[in-house]
Every structure is written in structure tokens, then in C-alpha cells.
Assembly symmetry: C2
Homo-oligomer: 159 residues x 2
């Protein structure tokens, strides 16, 4: 859809692509308040869960399975928090929601990237909102490399 | 599983059952901070999303579709927030997670139950944590009645 920013991601936004599948694309989130936090974006414009088609739902499960396995193996996540919220779209008078999921890996041990130590201070509790964490560009690149090299899909689409 | 409270719900906890399907049971949440908030509980002991079987995943989609439609139709929800978090289980040294999803309907207009008015003060934003809202028993009963009479599954299981 022409007026949807999620249908028209910029090259800068596409920089953190982890995997491009038939129906979904997976990106590292800009906000790395929980290391490895990612967004799974549907590649067509669709506004709610009930409007998802079954093949899209089935591929999402395959992605979730592999992404959660990868976050546990590559980063040591103990569990993952999954959510489909869509609240921000509804700030506008005429909302134009674009379906996406968030995954926040949760850790009982620190994660170390390039010698920098990241701690999940809220482990065992709901994720904290607006932590306003930013991580160095080089840690973001290391995270991308680490996750991409550990993500393995049995049937590959675009990536 | 013997030691899991979610596998062994008490009769008091089962009081707010909305729908009993083949793989999942749907209950009104005790905490009605967002009116119609419900929990969808897997009927077998399973600890994470990747361990879910595909037939369970497919039935969950059918439930989510119908529940979201019902919350929009019967209560006027504008959107729904879906999540699978599981954090509380990990407070224990030996976590014993039992898979469940939360749905929080979100409203741009007040909901009225038995003349009591409920407002979603955070509409357009992330749900607020620990609002500590409790609603009168008679409103809870009215909510159960309203949702049960509007939930229609094409193929019925237990309910």
C-alpha cells in the first residue's frame, strides 16, 4: 500500500534484515532493549490477525520456531516473549495498521557482544517499556552476523 | 502434569470459561483491566511456542479469529493486543511453563456493563501493567453471558 511505511521500508530500515521468507520478513529491531529483539513483518498490507491467511499463519509458526531456537542457541535466551499489538497505528484518526509481531528474547544470564555486557534486569517479569536503550553500531552488526549464521530454514525463500 | 496449576485448574478458576475447544480452552481473565481480556490455555502441558504442534497452531488461529471478531462485535473493541509471554514461570529455580496466550481488547469508546462505564485510557499506546482493576461480580457475569452468546465456532468441540 502506497501510504504505508511498513510496505515501503527504506534501504536504511532494510539494513537489519535477518531473513526474507515467502510471506514474512524478519528484522532486528532498532531498539535492542532485549538483545536480539526482532520484528516479523508481513510482506503484504493486512491490518489484523483475523485477516491473515492460513499459509501465512503456518509460515509464521515455522519462522517463530526457528527464530526462538536460534535466539536460545546463539545468544543463550531462556525464553521468548511474543506479541502482536499494533497500538501505535491507532494514534491516527484513520488508522492504517500493518500486521507485525515482536519477539523479545529474555535472559537469566548476561549476553556479551564485542566485550560489552547486556543484562536482562527484568527477567521473570513483564518486559519494561521505553527503556530507551541503544547499543553501539558494531554490536548491532555482530548481532546480525551471529543470528544470520545461526538461522536455518529447511526451505529457503528470499534469504 | 501433576504439579502444574494450569493443567489442574480449580472449579473456581473454571467458572469463567468462555469456550472449550479440542486443544485450547478460553477463559475470561480475572483481571479485567481491559474489558473482555481473556486467556487462551493449551489443554496439554507444553512449555513454549516451538513445542506447539501444527494442529494446535491452526486451531489457535480459528479461536483468535472468532474471539477478536466477537470482542469487536459484542463489546466494540477497535483492535486486540495478542501476546504469549510466560515470564512468571521463570521466577522459579526450576520453571515449569504452560503455554497460554493473552488477548487484551482495546477501545476508543467507553464500554458499559450494567450501567458501569469502563474507559481504555491508554488507547493508541501499549497496555498498562498492573492497573489492579477489579470489576463487580455482576459485570463479570454479564461479560461472560455477552461473550458466550456471541462466540460462534463453525465446528464445536466441548463448548
Amino acid at each position: 500500500m502506497e501510504k504505508c511505511g511498513w510496505c515501503n521500508l527504506t534501504e536504511a530500515e532494510k539494513r537489519w534484515l535477518l531473513s526474507d521468507r515467502e510471506y514474512w520478513a524478519v528484522y532486528l529491531a532498532d531498539e535492542q532493549d532485549y538483545i536480539g529483539r526482532s520484528i516479523i513483518i508481513l510482506k503484504r498490507h493486512c491490518g489484523s490477525l483475523p485477516e491473515l491467511q492460513m499459509p501465512e499463519w503456518i509460515e509464521f509458526k515455522q519462522i517463530a520456531d526457528e527464530l526462538e531456537r536460534c535466539l536460545k542457541t546463539a545468544l543463550g535466551a531462556r525464553l521468548c516473549n511474543w506479541s502482536c499489538l499494533m497500538n501505535s497505528f491507532y494514534k491516527k484518526d484513520v488508522p492504517n495498521p500493518h500486521l507485525h509481531f515482536h519477539v523479545r528474547p529474555r535472559y537469566d544470564k548476561p549476553v556479551v557482544l564485542n566485550g560489552n555486557v547486556y543484562v536482562d534486569a527484568e527477567y521473570g517479569h513483564h518486559y519494561r517499556l521505553s527503556k530507551g536503550v541503544s547499543i553501539p553500531e558494531e554490536d548491532m552488526r555482530e548481532l546480525l552476523r551471529l543470528l544470520k549464521s545461526n538461522l536455518h530454514f529447511s526451505v529457503s525463500a528470499g534469504n
